[in-house]
């Protein structure tokens, strides 16, 4: 028998080429817009042109005369079915259609259903809405003003625009440390409102069968099971007769986690009309109404000794949540995992406070390529540490190394209560500094400064908290954040794996197959991984917050080990020895000490269906629901080198190095691809993206003409490297990686630009850092004309 090896299996650590690609490269992906059902109708929204306006009336008569228009739904019709309002993931209520008033520009006001999308758009044009403009609240600081207009007068007990106050850490102890500290820095930063903007917008096709009561919901969903349960709760659909199918998803990045009015209306329309209905968001609708991210306005302070030992951190954040509190965060964590903002450093105490407010802007607050406000947290600490270094006249790398949690301190309990699983920060930092040639770069910078040339080096050393989460603490709408995996090994030795998570491009069909290949000795090409169909997949909370590998990866490995335990009994039976005499070695079962006496998994699988031992249940399959004992804590050292033209403010990223430690790596090629993509999104946020509003609450970035995605021309060349520190509590030691590069990179870029200008007294530039902003500073400082 030929040797089975990790390479021949396509097991862990192999850059297996992706199995899903064969359909994508031939145009045979199956995205939401590719779903065409017989007799299908199309939905189109009428949206509010005003940020805040009373609705005196809606006249659908002319719209209904448009050829092809079948129906027009307004809040009035929805109210008759008790569907006018829906719960948000954050426990607020959101208008499915605006009834008495509209509270943000682009809000859904009426829904026109027609025979095709052109007729639906024609119909939407003809709906007459009588608006009466109200004063909008645009600035989140203004929202807290006691004279500010009340946005949510629909809520009985809501007397102002304040949503919640959330605190972590010890205020009194932190204040005391600040009082006695040698050095204190205070920094105001804005993490601007941005949008995940996946290439595919959101959409759905709903097909309700009036006879059987069955409802099929094809949905751009990062969390199909959770969404099915939400549909059951919101629309009263029976879960056993509701099938959510998330087909191929054209990118998610958090945008496809919430439930949007478009989904609810399309379902309602199909139920009322008894025909399939399709709704596909336009790009403008996507940018103006669904799932924005960030919008955190922060005052951060650090207290330190004069020789650079950090003592304490104090953070006060004002969070703009828009008109409905529709952010995606675990129930008991309204500011998500933001208290990870103490970062990679030891300190004696910390205090973090977040106040959230309503404004007349689109609702959201999704975790855009980020684990629940971790990007905001990493930005705050890594900007603040740089400012502390400037104040102390210390090298920012040296200051970080001085305060790092040491490898011997792991598992490390932070002052805000998290237990970091593993890490060797000094090692990762050293690799990054050596590889970029840090000392030489600093010399070059000093020489350039003498000549008046501008060059900066920015460091970010981030620690993430991902893999939500342990069910003792984490749920969304009461649903435990656990995930299932089911493995069926077929008689001829191939296998089908079904998961409750859902890839949006991460390559699960390949990487989860590799976990099973490694655990069971079945070649990856003989393993099919299926996700996204609630009729077949085990329950799970979906893919976001880098939770697929930490949670569903654990479930997959443990389900495979259950299969292996059963197969071992069969192997013993086939080898005619007792089970104790059988060991799993070189991906086969072997009689201990007798290398020639072996049985493969394929042989055991065949026997499981043809020749199972007496008294043993036939078949070879297992299901496992994994409840992670803790989060995982990936980290990394990112260094950005920037050159700035001192006359125009134009800047160019000369080098960007990302050294990541995400624990055990399943597929290095896929991991590197995730890092390239996340860095590019971080680069976009740092240098070009912002969803802005004017004083009237008009969205100024409603298309790709003004909400910029970097092209291949602007995007820097990315350099990557890694250290590997496995998670001690995870079944395969993996920590998750998809979001690290987006969490780690914005501040590396901002730090590099601020570093280039630090000798001019510049301590902060808010994102997006643009040549225009830099030129204004250079002009003010007398450098540029």
């Amino acid at each position: 028998m030929s040797e089975i090896t990790q390479v021949s299996l396509g097991g862990m650590g192999q850059s297996v080429r992706r199995k899903e690609d064969i359909r994508f490269i031939q145009g045979k992906g199956n995205y939401i817009e590719d779903i065409y059902l017989p007799n299908m109708l199309y939905g189109c929204f009428v949206r509010s042109p005003f940020a805040h306006a009373k609705i005196n009336g809606i006249n659908s008569a002319e719209a209904l005369k448009v050829p092809g228009v079948v129906a027009v739904l307004t809040a009035k019709e929805l109210a008759a079915h008790n569907l006018a309002w829906m719960p948000t993931l954050a426990g607020d209520t959101q208008a499915v259609l605006a009834g008495e008033k509209a509270v943000f520009q682009g809000q859904e006001v009426a829904y026109v259903i027609a025979e095709n999308q052109y007729a639906a758009a024609d119909g939407a044009e003809m709906v007459e809405v009588d608006y009466e403009e109200l004063a909008p609240v645009v600035d989140p600081h203004q929202a807290m003003d006691k004279n500010a207009p009340l946005i949510r007068d629909d809520k009985k007990d809501q007397k102002n625009n304040h949503i919640f106050t959330w605190e972590a850490g010890d205020k009194a102890a932190t204040d005391a440390l600040f009082k006695n500290a040698d050095v204190v820095i205070s920094q105001k930063t804005e993490f601007q409102r941005v949008h995940p903007a996946p290439m595919e917008t959101c959409g759905c096709v709903v097909n309700h069968n009036k006879i059987t009561g069955q409802t099929d919901i094809y949905l751009t969903s990062q969390a199909p099971h959770a969404h099915r349960t939400v549909f059951a709760l919101v629309a009263g659909l029976a879960e056993h007769k509701t099938r959510v199918i998330a087909p191929d998803i054209g990118g998610g990045f958090g945008n496809k986690v919430p439930v949007y009015p478009g989904y609810v209306l399309t379902a309602a329309a199909s139920i009322v009309l008894g025909r399939p209905v399709k709704w596909i968001e336009t790009r403008t609708e996507n940018l103006q109404s669904t799932g924005f991210a960030r919008d955190y306005h922060t005052q951060a302070e650090l207290a330190a000794t004069k020789d650079g030992k950090i003592l304490a951190m104090r953070v006060n954040t004002l969070a703009d949540h828009g008109a409905f509190n529709a952010q995606a965060n675990p129930t008991k964590w309204p500011a998500g995992l933001y208290s990870i903002c103490t970062g990679s450093y030891t300190m004696d105490n910390a205090y973090v406070k977040v106040d959230a407010v309503y404004t007349n802007k689109a609702p959201g607050g999704v975790a855009y390529r980020c684990s629940f406000r971790v990007t905001e947290a990493a930005y705050v600490i890594e900007r603040a540490v740089d400012q502390l270094a400037t104040k102390l006249k210390m090298d920012p790398a040296a200051l970080r190394e001085k305060n790092f949690i040491k490898s011997s301190q792991f598992p490390y309990k932070t002052v805000t209560g998290w237990e970091y699983d593993s890490g060797d920060y000094h090692k990762t930092m050293k690799l990054a500094l050596d590889k970029i040639g840090y000392a030489e770069l600093r010399k070059e910078q000093a020489e350039k400064r003498k000549k008046g040339e501008l060059m900066g080096i920015g460091i970010s050393f981030f620690t993430e908290i991902v893999g939500a989460g342990p069910r003792k603490q984490f749920d969304i709408l009461g649903l435990s954040m656990n995930d299932g995996a089911e493995i069926r090994v077929h008689p001829t030795g191939s296998a089908t794996v079904r998961l409750g998570v859902k890839s949006q491009g991460q390559g699960h069909e390949t990487t989860f197959g590799q976990i099973v290949a490694e655990e069971l000795g079945i070649p990856v090409e003989k393993i099919t991984v299926e996700e996204g169909d609630t009729d077949t997949a085990p329950y799970g909370l979906g893919t976001y917050g880098s939770r697929s590998t930490p949670v569903a990866g654990g479930a997959t490995a443990l389900a495979a080990r259950k299969v292996r335990e059963k197969a071992k009994k069969i192997a013993a039976h086939l080898l005619e020895v007792s089970e104790q005499d059988v060991e799993w070695k070189n991906y086969k079962f072997q009689v201990k000490g007798v290398p020639g006496k072996v049985k493969t998994m394929a042989e055991c699988a065949f026997a499981a269906y043809t020749n199972a031992p007496d008294g043993q249940e036939a078949g070879l399959e297992a299901t496992f629901y994994y409840d992670p004992p803790n989060f995982t804590f990936p980290y990394g050292a990112y260094i950005c080198v920037v050159d700035i033209d001192n006359k125009s403010g134009q800047f160019k990223i000369r080098r960007f190095l990302a050294v990541d430690d995400c624990g055990t790596i399943i597929n290095p090629m896929v991991v590197e691809g995730q890092i390239h993509g996340g860095l590019t999104e971080g680069f976009a946020i740092a240098t070009m993206q912002e969803i802005r509003y004017d004083a009237e609450g008009n969205n100024l970035n409603g298309s790709f003409m003004d909400y910029l995605l970097p092209t291949a021309v602007e995007t820097p060349h990315w350099e990557t490297d890694k250290t590997i520190t496995p998670s001690p509590h995870h079944p395969i030691g993996a920590k998750g990686v998809g979001e690290s590069p987006n969490v780690g990179s914005p501040q590396a870029i901002v730090n590099s630009v601020v570093d280039a200008l630090s000798h001019l007294g510049v301590t902060n530039i808010d994102m997006p850092v643009t040549p225009w902003k830099i030129w204004q500073i250079l002009k003010e400082k007398g450098v540029a004309e």
Binding site: Y31, Y118, M199, E200, R283, G673
Partner: protein, 161 residues
């Protein structure tokens, strides 16, 4: 709205249909022909997911009316593979992990083929400019550039889209 009968050859097969003059070419390809590999990612000709080859030129099919393509020939992603063999650009995208979610991929490959037909040996800069009308949100373009460099030497001789 009045309709006009048009004939468009898609991937070598002529299709005749009666369409509204305002129908976009991309909707003709997707909704009428049900060739769904051509995607729509924006409303403003920015993203390039809908790129097809029209008479040998890469065009964004969301910005052309179907009636403008009357009597013309187009190639979409479904027409890249020939006789059961993948096109070199398809092979290269798979080999170099030049796609993740796959949504931009058809348009990106069509633009790349257009570029390589105009310029068989592009520099990295020329490749980056050549695909700058196509947005990708997942890959950061680095592996796409690699794939196009790899495919450059392998383009079928004498065959034009």
């Amino acid at each position: 709205m009045s309709k006009k009968e048009i004939t468009i050859t898609v991937n070598g097969t002529a299709h005749t249909a009666s369409v509204e003059p305002r129908m976009l070419l991309t909707h003709f390809i997707r909704d009428v022909m049900r060739q769904t590999g051509t995607h729509v990612g924006c409303d403003t000709t920015s993203c390039g997911a809908c790129t097809v080859s029209l008479e040998g030129q890469s065009v964004k099919s969301c910005t052309i009316f179907a009636v403008q393509a009357d009597g013309k020939s187009i190639v979409t992603v479904e027409g890249l593979a020939q006789n059961g063999a993948l096109h070199p650009i398809q092979e290269a995208f798979k080999e170099h992990h030049a796609l993740q979610c796959g949504f931009c991929t058809p348009g990106m490959m069509l633009s790349a083929v257009g570029l390589l037909q105009r310029n068989p040996n592009p520099t990295e800069d020329e490749i980056r400019w050549g695909i700058s009308g196509n947005l990708c949100r997942c890959t950061g373009y680095q592996n796409i550039v690699k794939a196009i460099q790899d495919a450059a030497g392998k383009m079928p001789k004498g065959v034009k889209l």
